[in-house]
C-alpha cells in the first residue's frame, strides 16, 4: 500500500490576499492582444460586403484563429498605408510629430472608463506609428525597435482591429494636443485599411449595405417610412387635436428635410421627430420629406471616405431631382460632421441650390453658403430669436434638463449656443454639467462611430462612464431627470447608459422639448406631453 503523501501546507491568510492583478511587466509591444467578451463587435457577414462590392467577403469572427485574410494581406495593408500617407498630408504629419508629451493620455473616455493603457490616445496611435516607422521612416528601418519600430504581423493587425474599434473618433484628445494631432483621423485610416481586407464589423457593414440599397441605415422601404410617420401623426392629433399632413417626395417644395432614420424608428428619437413635424406645420413651411434621401447619418464614414461619399451622394441627387432651393437637416451628430466638413468636397458644388434663407425670418444662413444645408438647431434658434414661435415652457415643468454636447456638433462644427437657447426657451429648469465635461470638452456617449451594437455593451458602459458620472452629479445636485442632446446615436445609446449608471434620468432630443412647449394655432388644451404622459397639473384628472 502506498504511503500517504504529506498534505501540502495551506497558504496563510496573508498569502491568500496578496493577489497580484498586474499584467506581466513587459513592454507594450510584446503584450499580445486578448479579445475579451463585451468589448468588441461581431465581424461582418459576407452579404453586406458583397452588396457594396467590398473585398474579401467571407464568414469570419474576430475570435477565430484564422481571419481568412488573402495571402498578400500584409502588402495590402502596407500599400494602403503608403497610399494614405501620400494622399493625406495631415495623416503623414500625425505619424511624425507626436512627442509623446502625454497631454492626451488621460483625456479619452475609453481610457478613463476602462483603465486599459492601450486606450490612451497616444498609445492607440502608437500601435500604428510603430509600423509606420518600420516601413516608412529611415530611423525605423535602420534601428528597428530602438527607434520604436516594429514589424507588421498578424498579431499586430489584430491589435489594431481591437483598439481602433475602441475609439469613437470623438476628438476630445485632439482638443488637448499641443500639436493638434487628430487621433480620429488615425482611427479613420486604420478602419479604411481593415476594409481593404473585408474586416468591418457587422454593426457598421449592415447599415452601410442597407443605406446603399434602400437609402437608410435601417433598410426602411418607402411605405414603411410613410406609415411610421403616420403613426406619429396619429399621436400628435391625439395630443393636440391637430391633423398634420406632411408631403413626401414632392417636387417643387422649397426645402428638403433630411434626418437620421433613427428618428423615424425607435423611442425616444420618434418624439423628436414629432417635434419637427409640429414645428414645420405651425410655420406652414413649404418642405418635403424624401423616402429616398431618407438618412442623414452615414455609417460609410466609419468604413472609408469612398463609402461615405457614395452614401452621401443621394442627398444632393434628391435635392436636384425634387428641385428644392435648399436642405434642412435634423438633429444628428456624425451626419453634421460629414455635411460640414466633407459633403461639399465630395459631392459638391451644389450650384443648383440657393444659399439658404429662412422663409419665416429672412435670415441668411451664411455658414451654409457652400453646402446649402442648415442644421435645425440654427433654424429653430433663429425663429425663437425673432419671436416667431409661441412657447409655453411650463409644460416642461416636470423636467429638470441638462444638455449633452454631441462630439460632432460641438467639436466638429461649433454648435454650442443654439441648442441651449432652444432648451432655455422651452423649459424652465436647465442645469449645466461641470465645465470640463461640456462644450468643446464634452465627453462622448461612448457608442459613436458604429460602436452602438449590443454585443459590446461592457465597452459602451466603460466609454460612457465619464459622461454618466457628470450627469449623476447634476442629478444629485439639482434633481436633473432629462438628458437632452442633438444626436440620434445619443438618443439611442444614452438611454442604456443612463439605465446602468443613473437610472432615473431619461433622454430626449431638443425638438421634443420644443414640441411640448410649442403653442399651436387651433390646438386643444394639452393633457399630455409627446410621450403621452400627463403634463404637470394634469395628473389628477388622469387618475
Amino acid at each position: 500500500m502506498a504511503k500517504p503523501t504529506k498534505p501540502t501546507k495551506p497558504p496563510k491568510p496573508e498569502e491568500l490576499v496578496k493577489i497580484d492583478y498586474n499584467p506581466p511587466e513587459k513592454p507594450w509591444m510584446e503584450v499580445p492582444v486578448e479579445f475579451k467578451p463585451g468589448t468588441f463587435c461581431y465581424g461582418t457577414r459576407p452579404k453586406y460586403l458583397e452588396e457594396v462590392g467590398f473585398p474579401n467577403p467571407r464568414e469570419w469572427s474576430p475570435l477565430d484563429e484564422d481571419w481568412k485574410l488573402p495571402a498578400d494581406w500584409k502588402d495590402t495593408v502596407l500599400d494602403g498605408l503608403g497610399e494614405r500617407l501620400k494622399k493625406n498630408r495631415a495623416f503623414h504629419l500625425f505619424m511624425d510629430i507626436c512627442v509623446r508629451c502625454g497631454a492626451c493620455a488621460d483625456k479619452c473616455h475609453f481610457f478613463i472608463g476602462s483603465g486599459d493603457p492601450k486606450n490612451m490616445p497616444v498609445l492607440r496611435a502608437e500601435l500604428m506609428r510603430s509600423v509606420y516607422r518600420k516601413y516608412f521612416s529611415t530611423g525605423g528601418k535602420l534601428f528597428g525597435s530602438l527607434a520604436g519600430a516594429r514589424e507588421l504581423t498578424f498579431d499586430v493587425f489584430k491589435e489594431w482591429w481591437y483598439y481602433f474599434y475602441q475609439c469613437t473618433e470623438c476628438r476630445r484628445c485632439s482638443v488637448f494636443c499641443p500639436y493638434g494631432i487628430d487621433t480620429a483621423e488615425i482611427t479613420m485610416m486604420a478602419r479604411e485599411l481593415f476594409n481593404l481586407l473585408g474586416c468591418n464589423t457587422d454593426w457598421i457593414a449592415g447599415p452601410v449595405a442597407n443605406c446603399y440599397r434602400k437609402g437608410n441605415h435601417l433598410g426602411l422601404e418607402p411605405h414603411t417610412i410613410t406609415s411610421n410617420i403616420e403613426f406619429m401623426l396619429d399621436d400628435i392629433e391625439e395630443i393636440t387635436g391637430i391633423k398634420i399632413e406632411p408631403t413626401f417626395n414632392r417636387k417643387g417644395a422649397e426645402i428638403l428635410f433630411v434626418t437620421p432614420s433613427g428618428d423615424l424608428f425607435g423611442d425616444p428619437g420618434t418624439y423628436t421627430c414629432m417635434g419637427y413635424l409640429m414645428l414645420f406645420h405651425e410655420l406652414g413651411l413649404d418642405y418635403t420629406w424624401s423616402t429616398y434621401a431618407s438618412e442623414g447619418g452615414n455609417f460609410g464614414f466609419f468604413t472609408s471616405m469612398e463609402m461615405a461619399k457614395r452614401l452621401n451622394y443621394k442627398i444632393y441627387a434628391e435635392a436636384k431631382r425634387l428641385g428644392v432651393k435648399w436642405i434642412l437637416g435634423g438633429e444628428c451628430g456624425h451626419m453634421w460632421r460629414v455635411v460640414h466638413q466633407y459633403m461639399d468636397t465630395w459631392n459638391g458644388p451644389a450650384d443648383f441650390l440657393e444659399e439658404p434663407v429662412s422663409p419665416i425670418t429672412g435670415t441668411k444662413f451664411e455658414n451654409a453658403k457652400t453646402t446649402k444645408m442648415v442644421h435645425i438647431a440654427e433654424f429653430t434658434a433663429d425663429l425663437i430669436k425673432h419671436g416667431k414661435l409661441k412657447l409655453d415652457p411650463s409644460r416642461n415643468d416636470h423636467l429638470k434638463v441638462t444638455y449633452h454636447d454631441s462630439c460632432n456638433t460641438s467639436r466638429g462644427m461649433g454648435i454650442l449656443e443654439e441648442p441651449r437657447y432652444i432648451i432655455n426657451n422651452s423649459c424652465n429648469h436647465f442645469h449645466e454639467m461641470p465645465e470640463d465635461t461640456i462644450r468643446e470638452k464634452t465627453f462622448c456617449c461612448g457608442s459613436g462611430t458604429g460602436l452602438n451594437a449590443g454585443e459590446n455593451m461592457e465597452l459602451r458602459m466603460r466609454g460612457g462612464l465619464p459622461r454618466a458620472n457628470a450627469v449623476k452629479h447634476v442629478r444629485d445636485k439639482h434633481g436633473v431627470n432629462m438628458l437632452a442632446n442633438i444626436c440620434a446615436i445619443d438618443r439611442a445609446t444614452l438611454s442604456a447608459l443612463m439605465q446602468y449608471w443613473v437610472p432615473d434620468v431619461e433622454v430626449s432630443g431638443i425638438h421634443e422639448l420644443l414640441g411640448n412647449a410649442l403653442v399651436m394655432k387651433g390646438e386643444k388644451e394639452r393633457e399630455t406631453d409627446l410621450r403621452l404622459e400627463p403634463l404637470p397639473g394634469k395628473e389628477e384628472e388622469d387618475v
Binding site: 492583478y21 481610457f111 472608463g113 483603465g115 424608428f265 458620472n469
Partner: protein, 171 residues
C-alpha cells in the same frame, strides 16, 4: 484599548493603503493616473473608489449596521463589473482591507490582545464580500438586460404597426 478607537485613529493611513492596493489591481500606467488625478470628473474611477472606501470603512466601524447594502459598495462594484476583471477580481478588493488592518495594527493587536475584536471585524468584512457578490450579479444581469431591451426597443414600433402587440386586458 478598543480596536474601534484604534481604527478611528489610524483611519487616514489605513484608507490610503487600501486605496493604493485597490488601484494597483490596474496596470501600472493606469494606477498612477488613478492616484494622481484628483478631479472627480476627470477621474471618475479613482474618485468612486476613494469616496466609496471611506464610507464603507465608516460603515464597518458602526457595529449595528443598517442591514442594507451600501450605495457606495454599489458604486465601486458597478465600475469593476464592466471592466476587464473576473468576478473574483471585481469583488476581491474588499479582502485587501483585512491585509491592510493586520499589517498596520499588528503590534497593537498583539499588545492589547484584540483578537476577539479583530475576528468580529473580519466577519463583518466577510459579510461585505457576500453583499458584493449580490451587487456584482445585479450589475451583470443589468448589462444582459440592456442588451435584450435595446433589441426589443428597435422592433417594438414594427410589431406595433403590424398589429402584433396586444395589451393584456384586465378583468
Amino acid at each position: 484599548m478598543e480596536l474601534k478607537s484604534l481604527l478611528t485613529e489610524k483611519r487616514a493611513a489605513i484608507l490610503r493603503k487600501w486605496f493604493d492596493l485597490i488601484v494597483d489591481t490596474y496596470p501600472s500606467d493606469t494606477s498612477s493616473f488613478l492616484k494622481k488625478q484628483k478631479n472627480q470628473f476627470a477621474n471618475p474611477v479613482g474618485h468612486t473608489i476613494s469616496e466609496g472606501i471611506e464610507e464603507l470603512f465608516d460603515e464597518l466601524l458602526e457595529e449595528a449596521g443598517s442591514g442594507k447594502v451600501s450605495p457606495f459598495l454599489d458604486n465601486i462594484i458597478r465600475v469593476r463589473a464592466i471592466q476587464d476583471f473576473t468576478p473574483s477580481e471585481a469583488i476581491g478588493f474588499i479582502f485587501l482591507l483585512k491585509n491592510v488592518i493586520r499589517e498596520s495594527l499588528q503590534r497593537e493587536i498583539r499588545e492589547y490582545q484584540m483578537y476577539d475584536d479583530l475576528l468580529r471585524l473580519e466577519s463583518r468584512i466577510d459579510d461585505l464580500v457576500r453583499s458584493s457578490f449580490d451587487v456584482y450579479m445585479k450589475c451583470r444581469e443589468q448589462v444582459y438586460d440592456l442588451k435584450a431591451s435595446e433589441v426589443k426597443k428597435m422592433t417594438f414600433r414594427l410589431l406595433q404597426r403590424a398589429n402584433l402587440v396586444k395589451e393584456i386586458q384586465e378583468d
